[in-house]
Amino acid sequence: MRQKGNKTDAIVQADQVSRSFGSIVALEHVSLSIPSGRIFGLLGPSGSGKTTLIRLAAGALSPDSGTIRVLGQIMPNRETTAHIGYMTQAAALYPDLSLRENLNFFGALYDVPTGELRARIEEITSEVGLFDRLDSQLQTFSGGMRQRASLACALLHRPELLILDEPTVGLDPVLRRSFWQRFRELADQGRTLIVSSHIMDEADRCDELAFLRDGRLLATGSPDALRAQTGCQDLEDAFLALADALTTAPSGERR
């Protein structure tokens, strides 16, 4: 079943992508392909380049070299953005507007048909449990509520590809579990999810994983495949084993 992730149905295809910010190399020659209809986890400590890779895929950044394709189009590409739902690390919504006003605004940006928008907003806020807070301003929301609002906003226009940058950070265990249940449902509907995390116990919930460290790709594969490759039962141990392999063979290990 997991062998299905070949290049032909890859929804995201990164090819030798590098990106620096000043003298800091955030991402170095990263190539990977993300199959559609799966939950793809980007795992790595903070500063490993997860957010940079995510922003490149979302079209918020251009690579210095290499290309990143989403749905066959080289990013950044404005037409493709209509098919992407992007949840940034910060809530990134307007705190002085109500949840409904925020969603109305983004619904219009993504051209959700006017006739459907109201029903769609009510549907999506029910799903994330914020229906009764639709008309409250976001500045009255708790951190977890803001994150749910942000998720609702990313899902509003029913995107094929969801790019979620550390969506569960700071959530309590109950809420985190419900987020992951929701992610699984979306993948079952055929949507693709890219979820970044630095929490290794979330890795097992993904179909495919990419381990990142210091801007380099350590390995990709399903959680079981990575376990088999390293001989470690625990994914955290697997990550550390792969990271050690990189540091002991610094230059030759790249491909």
């Binding site: 918020a60 992007y86 940034t88 051209d111």
Partner: protein, 364 residues
């Protein structure tokens, strides 16, 4: 270009600022407060003026009047021939000419009228002349022995301007432009900075929203408030403090709007160079204050020393002020203000380009 997206952005901005009551009230109250203060200062002020008296009659009463007026603290009095006085007032050597009629007598019962010719182009001087004369005349009339209490009236004749025209009429048109320029700049740069700080700009950048739509949406949203501010300020100036006003009201809004387009985009552009709201405030002494001082709002351009004059000629507000004065004081049509219109359109275009290029950097 999607009209729906542009309108969504404009509506969002209107919603956010409608909720920010304090800013909204400040935007309306501050200009009114400032202009009311100026009204109080300028319409109650005294000023030293030079007056020529043409006294063809040399009657005792006239001599007494000349002597009495010469005693006035507020007036410098010279007696001249009618021809000299006419030349002097045209050369701006004197501010006003008081012509005493032949056979001036205060013994009859008919009221006497004294004609004052005012240069008129500097309204505060005109009002100072009239104030000084109105204060000095009653005492001199008493000294000229006026037992019958014959009324003495002043008949002001203006070479330029008009009797109701004063310094405030000269200021007020520029205030409408200045406050629109200032507030729209401040609000745009702060609200754009907030987009950056709260990260929503990233959401906009990865949405189907184009740069042109962002610029247009922002412009539209803030134009609503600039228009509201101009309407309130124009109505207040015309109906509450009775500012001299002859031009077409739509032209006032046209020039205000043109200036606002430049201002919104200048705000978007400069907010790139600010990391905090405090840093936005620091732009005020750099981009706003010099224009407020040099663009001819208070001191006429002709009174500026050479280098500052060149600086003033480079400022968009200078042209907005000329245009708004032209419309409100002289009743100019658009055709007479082609230079000002052209410069303001150019300024707006330049700022749109700069704003769009910073938005481009936002993506790359």
């Amino acid at each position: 270009m999607s009209r729906r997206r542009v309108l969504a952005l404009a509506t969002r901005i209107v919603r956010q600022f409608r909720r920010d009551r304090r800013t909204l009230i400040l935007m309306l109250i501050a200009p009114i407060l400032v202009i009311s203060l100026l009204a109080y200062i300028y319409r109650g002020g005294t000023h030293h003026v030079s007056l020529a008296i043409v006294n063809g009659d040399a009657s005792p009463v006239a001599a007494q009047l000349v002597a009495g007026l010469s005693d006035s603290q507020a007036l410098t009095v010279k007696t001249m021939s009618a021809a000299d006085a006419t030349r002097a007032i045209k050369q701006n050597d004197i501010d006003a000419v008081l012509t005493l009629p032949d056979n001036l007598s205060l013994t009859g019962s008919t009221p006497q009228t004294l004609t004052v010719t005012l240069e008129g182009s500097q309204p505060n001087t005109s009002s100072a002349v009239l104030n000084a004369l109105n204060q000095a005349l009653p005492t001199t009339v008493v000294r000229a022995l006026n037992p019958a209490g014959v009324p003495l009236k002043l008949n002001p004749v203006f070479l330029h301007g008009g009797p109701q025209f004063d310094q405030l009429d000269y200021f007020a048109p520029t205030f409408i432009g200045f406050f629109a320029f200032f507030f729209v700049f401040l609000l745009t740069s702060v609200s754009f900075l907030r987009e950056r700080i709260q990260g929503s700009i990233e959401r906009l950048m990865v949405s189907p929203l184009s740069r042109a739509e962002i610029v247009l949406g922002y412009m539209l949203g803030f134009a609503v408030f600039a228009a509201l501010q101009s309407v309130v300020l124009v109505l207040y100036c015309v109906y509450a403090i009775h500012i001299h006003y002859t031009g077409h009201i739509l032209l006032v809004f046209f020039f205000t709007l043109l200036l606002t387009i430049g201002s919104v985009n200048m705000g978007i552009f400069l907010s790139t160079f600010a990391r905090t709201e405090l840093q936005v405030v620091q732009f005020i002494p750099i981009v706003i204050t010099p224009q407020g001082l040099l663009s001819g709002i208070i001191w006429p351009l002709s009174s500026l020393p050479g280098p500052l004059r060149i600086l003033a000629d480079l400022m968009p507000l200078t042209y907005a002020n000329e245009a708004l004065r032209g419309v409100m004081i002289r009743g100019d049509q658009l055709g007479a203000l082609w230079l000002q219109t052209g410069v303001l359109v150019g300024f707006a275009a330049l700022m749109v380009i700069l704003a769009a290029s910073t938005l481009h950097r936002e993506i790359a």
